[in-house]
């Protein structure tokens, strides 16, 4: 019978062996307790962070960028909605091959080079829950086609973004453009709160005042489940919109100036000699401001950046030119102040002036005869100023040139301003290893030779003559307003520098400049405006590469100047010819058509 066999006596060692098994299990449980202690107590903080990262996601809410307005509050730069398409790395399929397929097919739809898209997605992996922006301002038709494919393109994200829009076509260089922050810029700016995917002003005022314009992004913390579905908002911080910039620019004057310049290469700066407010700033050739808003055509981008005429440069602050004869007003004031000449000092012009065996000619071959300062300015006599320069000497001339703001940046609120060159013997020795010759001094006295200045510097020097000897601080920002436009905050303007000029000397030079425009023999009669007293000076910037540049500076009204203008037309020939009529049209706008 089975039963009898089953009741086998239990050997003693059985209990010991069961006990052994029991202790083994107990030991295994100890391992679990130790592991629990380590995970929950010693390493708990790390796991709690991970848990938080798992279930709480921060979604940025972009702050609307501030607007840019002209001095009469006309909107120059606005925001417009634009649809962006991108890839959110965290939402791509987990299988690498499938993820790659999504990236490839989206690159195809958006017509973008695959390596660029891959790099963009890869760099976004540091913030995998935010989308990497692949294309902005996507065509609505394409958006519709992509939206139909949402299911087959997991990870693709389509969202309402914004782009800059330009109700007024002008002042592209001054305003600048906005672009997505690059890796290099991010490296440089990440300590200032910039993040991947941010818009960043790339040039012009957009760049210079980016921190005012950008505002502070808000965000919401949402609780999500494992599927990424939003379950609720834990915390929401509304974005603070960027501040609006009110510029000193007069959009109307800007438009007239750009129109007058046409597509000739050149630059114009018009400023208020009383306070340095820039009323217009033109650089040609230019590009449509809207070229870089939203969708950027790679071909357009390439063409603009490789154009030999450098349409991307703001010639008004970056272009360096010899000022030509307009510089005579600086030479004149320097010589008067230094006592090198008096208003009555006469020099003789025979059309040719010899320094040992070198001939220096006047533009008027038959010469001006015996001539004093005022007439010499009116007629722009070169030989008069050669002799003034020689009497004044180069050191004093260079010092006064610097006093008038040449050779240093004006400090205007634009990026990449150039300082120019004020030559002197030390500079020449350093640069060319050659001594300074008297011929260098006579060239400098009429604004040729080594002298290099920006049109902005010329406008400021002209303003100093207009306002009786004060070097103003040119600026473009008049005030800053909050997004609602209520809290107005006027930008403080640095005090003008008093050059300490004798008022009699200033009015003498002013009379000379007025004569240049108003008198029958004046070189700048093309700038004459009926019913307005205009003081001006023509110039020709010698250009070794081709036809000379036409330069013109002026201010008006002479009795109480409100505007000073400097203009250069590249390859525009002799001063009066092509530059002065532009000034005339601007002055007509200001004093006859406008306001």
């Amino acid at each position: 019978m089975i039963w009898a066999r089953l009741v086998r006596p239990r050997p003693d060692r059985t209990a010991a062996r069961v006990r052994f098994v029991g202790w083994t299990v107990a030991a295994l449980y100890c391992v679990l307790v130790v592991r629990l202690f380590w995970m929950q107590i010693l390493d708990g903080a790390r796991y709690r962070d991970l848990a938080r990262l798992n279930s709480v996601r921060t979604i940025p809410i972009r702050a609307p960028r501030g607007l840019i307005l002209d001095r009469h509050l006309r909107v120059l730069v606005d925001n417009a909605p634009a649809v962006s398409v991108g890839i959110t790395p965290a939402e791509l399929p987990r299988d690498p091959a499938q993820a790659q397929a999504v990236v490839e097919s989206l690159a195809g739809f958006l017509n973008l080079p695959l390596p660029a898209v891959e790099a963009k997605v890869a760099s976004q992996r540091v913030r995998p829950y935010a989308p990497a922006r692949l294309a902005v301002d996507v065509d609505p038709g394409l958006v519709a086609r992509l939206e139909e494919r949402t299911a087959s393109l997991p990870g693709m994200t389509i969202w309402q973004d914004s782009k800059r829009s330009y109700p007024v076509a002008e002042a592209a260089h001054v305003l600048g453009y906005v672009g997505e922050i690059t890796q290099g810029q991010l490296e440089r700016l990440k300590d200032r709160g910039y993040r991947l995917g941010d818009w960043l002003g790339q040039t012009g005022l957009e760049s210079y005042y980016d921190e005012k314009l950008r505002g502070v992004d808000g965000g919401k913390e949402v609780r999500i489940d494992a599927g990424g579905h939003e379950l609720g908002i834990l915390r929401e911080v509304p974005p603070q919109p960027g501040q609006n910039l009110v510029l000193t620019i007069d959009a109307g004057l800007q438009a007239v100036a750009e129109d007058a310049m046409g597509q000739d290469a050149g630059a114009i700066v018009a400023l208020d000699p009383r306070n340095g407010e820039i009323l217009a700033m033109v650089s040609k050739p230019d590009y449509p401001a809207s070229a870089f808003a939203g969708r950027v055509d790679a071909k357009v981008w390439d063409a603009l950046n490789h154009d030999e005429r450098h349409p991307m440069d703001n010639r008004a602050v970056q272009g360096l030119y010899p000022p030509g004869s307009v510089f005579k007003i600086v030479t004149a004031l320097a010589a008067l102040q230094e006592g090198a000449i008096t208003p009555e000092t006469h020099f003789t012009c025979n059309g040719i002036f010899w320094i040992s065996t070198w001939p220096y000619r006047c533009w008027k071959e038959i010469g001006h005869g015996s001539i004093a300062l005022e007439q010499a300015i009116i007629e722009s006599c070169d030989i008069f100023f050669y002799q003034v320069g020689l009497k004044l000497k180069v050191d004093a001339l260079a010092r006064w040139t610097r006093n008038f703001g040449f050779g240093t940046k004006t400090g205007i609120d634009l990026p990449d301003e150039q300082a120019g060159v004020v030559p002197d013997p030390a500079w020449k020795q350093l640069k060319e290893g050659l001594p300074w010759f008297p011929g260098n001094t006579v060239m400098m006295a009429i604004g040729q030779g080594y002298m290099q200045a920006t049109i902005l510097q010329l406008a400021r020097a002209t303003a100093a003559v207009a306002n009786g000897g004060f070097l103003v601080h040119p600026h473009l920002l008049k005030s800053v307003t909050s997004s609602e436009g209520d809290q107005v905050e006027t930008e403080p303007v640095a005090k003008s520098v008093d050059l300490g000029l004798n008022p009699d000397y200033v009015s003498l030079v002013q009379r000379g400049m007025e004569g240049a425009v108003e008198s029958p023999r004046g070189t700048a009669s093309r700038a004459r405006v009926d019913g307005l007293s205009v003081a001006g000076k023509t110039g020709t910037a010698q250009n070794s590469q081709g036809e000379d540049h036409a330069v013109f500076v002026c201010f008006a009204p002479v009795e109480s100047p409100q505007v000073a203008i400097a203009i250069i037309v590249e390859h525009g020939g002799e001063g009066g010819l092509s530059a002065a009529p532009i000034a005339k049209r601007m002055l007509e706008y200001l004093y006859k058509d406008g306001q």
Binding site: T14, V21, V25
Partner: protein, 370 residues
Amino acid sequence: MAPFTLLPDARRWDRSIIILAMLLCAFGLVLIVSATAADPGLRGLPLKQALWVLMGVVAMVLAAVVDHRGLANLGYLAYGLVVLLLGVVLLTARRSSHGATSWLDLGVFYVEPSELAKVALILALARALSDSPRVRTFTGLLPALGLMAGLQILVLKAPDLGTSLILLPITLTMLLVAGARLWHLGLLALGMGAAGPLAWPFLHPYQRDRILSFLNPQSDALGTGYNAIQSQIAVGSGGWFGQGYMRGTQSQLHFVPFHHTDFVFSVLGEEGGFIASVLLLALLLALLARIAEIAMKARDMSGSLVAAGMLAWLGTQSFVNIGMNLGLLPVTGIPLPLVSYGGSSTIAAFFGLGLVLSVRRDSLGSSGDR
């Protein structure tokens, strides 16, 4: 004497086993309520689990009132029945979505034959080993190993890697208790270790993935390593006292998959923290200690073997399950006995405990209040 002897004497029920088992089930129910709260699709599960517990208690009473020797006598029959069931499963199986368990659809509810395999193996081994004094020879081990291997292969094909692994410590423990020489068992364990890689080609790809991702969870953090990482995050974030009942973000927001079944411990770790986790471990260990005591005091070899088999089953399975929740062991897909949601596993565990109760009643019956 009849093979079935009823022992209805109420004083001989082992109260500590019953109380501890019920406490563990209550613990499990509380966790299952929390684990399923956020998912409308799982709403009925706590109630169903309560039903399984009830059915388990019935199974326990049935097992307890019957003389365990009688059941051990039927060990081969039970074994044969389970083999049959597993065969049916293999022939009719539809793979479920997450790849793991195949179920036998009995119309009203599903049966997981692999859970029954553990009970059947314990009964069959108790029958085989108490019957044979030859376990002290190496060849004497072979019948037991054959019984084990037969079930293992079928269970592995089911496919249920976890259960087939659990069958090994059950067999080794019972051999040990039956009196097998230690060095035989050592040699056996060594041989099994060496043969492990041979099993590699027979594993399902998902089983291989699980083992690979255990060795390096971050290699595929969102794929096969996902479960392990998420459950570790859940447990680790619990701290001393946990995030609060029903307030664990990982569990409630579905970051931890299968968190009412295989990963129910992660819910406890996250919401109850270290204190509650250790409390659960203490309850389990108390139950195991009581089973060990019963095994030591059993009146005969058959009783010791049945209780020791249960000790090995519940001890290793709970260790493997919790170890998997804590990232110590690969994800093998076995539930935490008595705690995890699951009909077959709950009923099978209770039935096994019923056998232990029967052993206890038998030993009390023989020598009074020993």
